[in-house]
């Protein structure tokens, strides 16, 4: 399936094209007009909030106001340099990298385990799938409200049941060495069930007869996993990794509700930094520069997504 069929240009077939470029163009435009009208509503909103927004980030990153009321002046790369020199930003980038790796790997591993265990469909597996999927549905803010109590020192759920086993009760969200990991637990809990769905779909593609042949040849469960299932799931892995990475950048609502980036910036993530610059410091220049850097960093991932989507036959 090709992504787009070339437009039909009925008049140009008999005439030498070079003499009639203008005519060909206008005829092409005329036959295309209905399609353009249908696309117009979408394109207007895309132009305003996607491409326009991109352009504004680029421009805003190059300008600066001395005070919120002062006129803007061109500062070139000063904003970008200021952001790169800001320890809060570099700290947020490092935190975000730890957060991305520390949430993607466990949640994808768990998702694979869940999918392998629940790949057959019956009443029991359906209930278990639903249980594991529930956190996906609820708002991150609601999950945060629940985990606020779970992580509560001394009387909270975690300390009440598990904390007694530890000599010293940790302050899950209040200790700067632990808080980021506490935040990561929420993300893993919330996303593993989502990624499980993709592995369940991917497992459908593993041919039953190949599996059958493999264990007739004496392959154990781990050998079948290593040599048949995992190779078959490669596109799924790639795809889920892309989503997990995007989520690590964009899904940060729990930071807002639980820690506000604290204690001492230990849970500050890039998107929260951008929000702080824009809303708390009214520094649109720095916020835009940070946005620009994040977008640029995601470009590599974008290329990867394109490849992933090509693997899925151009469909979404």
């Amino acid at each position: 399936m090709s992504l787009a069929e070339p437009a039909a240009l009925p008049v140009t077939t008999s005439a030498p094209p070079r003499l009639h470029i203008l005519k060909r163009f206008t005829t092409g435009f005329k036959t295309s007009l209905p399609a353009y009208l249908l696309l117009l509503p979408s394109l207007i909103f895309l132009a305003l909030f996607t491409y326009g927004a991109m352009g504004r980030v680029l421009v805003d990153a190059l300008y600066q106001r001395a005070t919120p009321k002062a006129p803007v002046r061109f500062v070139g790369l000063d904003n970008i340099n200021a952001v790169l020199a800001d320890p809060a930003f570099t700290g947020a980038v490092v935190n975000n990298l730890i957060y991305a790796v520390g949430t993607a790997i466990p949640s994808i591993t768990l998702a694979l385990l869940f999918a392998l265990a629940l790949s057959r469909t019956n009443a029991v597996t359906s209930v278990l799938r639903a249980a594991l999927f529930l956190p996906v549905l609820i708002p991150m803010v609601a999950a945060s409200a629940l985990f606020l109590f779970i992580f509560l020192p001394n009387v909270g759920l975690l300390d009440y049941y598990i904390g007694r086993l530890l000599p010293v009760l940790p302050n899950w969200l209040g200790d700067s060495d632990i808080a980021l990991y506490a935040i990561m637990i929420i993300t893993i809990w919330k996303n593993a069930g989502y990624y499980m769905l993709f592995f369940l779909a991917g497992l459908q593609a593993v041919p039953e007869d190949v599996m059958e042949a493999a264990h007739l040849d004496g392959a154990g469960p781990f050998q079948r996993l290593r040599y048949i299932i995992l190779p078959e799931l490669k596109p799924t892995f790639l795809f889920v990794t892309v989503i997990a990475t995007l989520n690590a950048v964009t899904q940060v609502d729990h930071v807002f509700v639980l820690t506000q980036g604290g204690p001492s910036n230990a849970t500050n993530l890039v998107l929260f930094y951008i929000y702080q610059q824009a809303v708390e410091h009214y520094d649109i220049g720095k916020a835009s520069a940070a946005t620009l850097l994040t977008l640029a960093a995601l470009m590599g991932l974008t290329a990867l997504s394109f490849r992933t989507m090509a693997n899925r036959e151009g469909g979404a």
């Binding site: 209905p34 696309l39 509503p41 326009g52 980030v57 993709f198 951008i274 946005t291």
Partner: protein, 289 residues
């Protein structure tokens, strides 16, 4: 591993005796229980009377004297009816406009030939790559310039066009046999009549899949409404819940927080439990959204 034998009846004969898959299954059951604990606590804490004291708050055994006081408190303190109304308006407004934009654009991509099709296709694709939440800063200033700061319309607007929905509809429309449209064409149906009476009715499963994804994601949206909305009476559920949690945390009213959370997620959970299959298949298609 006897207890699981019944579940492995349909596994290939040679693998039925293997121990590893059963251990994996047991681990999954254990984790599924752990996964449910926050929900279990939410339910138990909602019904626990404040008189039980703070030290039993974490107890997962339900209280012997269940009460609805927490729900009443949350309902009164939190202004949840207003938040629910706002969220409903936002989700419905976005969805209705999206239905129009994605149907028209999806049809153009599925059935019409036009100059620059590939280019425009990639322009749409770009929206999938540039996750909207990253563009909050420029979009906030645009919304403010349009005079839509602190309005529900401002919250909705960036989502009116949906590349994901457009591609979903394109796929659905391409699957519809052209003979049907040709027949309507002979009967003199206009372009809009053909879309309205042939393409739309035959694509209902795709519309409902899209509706599920769109509503769940905007029901759960937090950061964007937090930035756009200023007045308390325009807050959606998520922003309302975060403010409510902050207030109730100060007074250690954990039962009330649990009740408030329950109210926020109950509509989605109930809908999910009814239409479970449909939700799951929709979420599988939502990978790129």
């Amino acid at each position: 591993m006897r207890p699981f034998d019944a579940l492995f009846k349909d596994a290939p004969l040679a693998t039925r005796g293997e121990i590893t898959p059963k251990l994996g299954f047991a681990l999954t059951v254990l984790l599924a229980i752990v996964w449910l604990i926050p929900f279990l606590w939410m339910g138990v804490a909602t019904l626990r009377p404040a008189s039980d004291g703070i030290n039993t708050m974490a107890e997962l055994m339900p209280s012997l004297k269940p009460t609805l006081d927490n729900i009443r408190d949350a309902w009164e303190i939190g202004d949840f009816p207003r938040y629910t109304l706002n969220t409903t308006i936002i989700c419905t407004g976005i969805l209705l406009v999206q239905f129009v934009t994605i149907t028209l654009a999806g049809f153009a991509f599925a059935r019409l030939a036009f100059a620059g099709k590939t280019l425009i296709f990639y322009l749409f694709l770009m929206q999938l790559m540039l996750v909207p939440v990253l563009l909050i800063v420029p979009n906030l200033s645009l919304v403010a310039q349009l005079g839509l700061y602190d309005t529900l319309a401002g919250v909705m607007m960036p989502f009116f066009a949906s590349a994901f929905g457009t591609f979903l509809m394109r796929q659905a429309f391409e699957a519809i046999p052209t003979e049907l449209e040709d027949a309507a064409l002979i009967d003199g149906a206009s372009l809009f009549q053909r879309i309205r009476h042939i393409y739309v009715p035959l694509s209902m499963p795709s519309f409902s899949a899209f509706a599920i994804i769109s509503v769940t994601s905007h029901w759960n949206d937090f950061l964007w409404p937090l930035m756009v909305i200023n007045s308390p009476d325009k807050r959606p559920l998520t922003v309302g819940l975060s403010v409510f949690t902050k207030t109730a945390e100060g007074t250690q009213a954990w039962g009330t927080i649990a009740a408030g959370t329950l109210m926020v997620i109950a509509p989605l959970l109930i809908t999910f439990l009814i239409f479970q299959k449909r939700f799951i298949s929709s979420f599988v298609t939502s990978g790129i959204k």
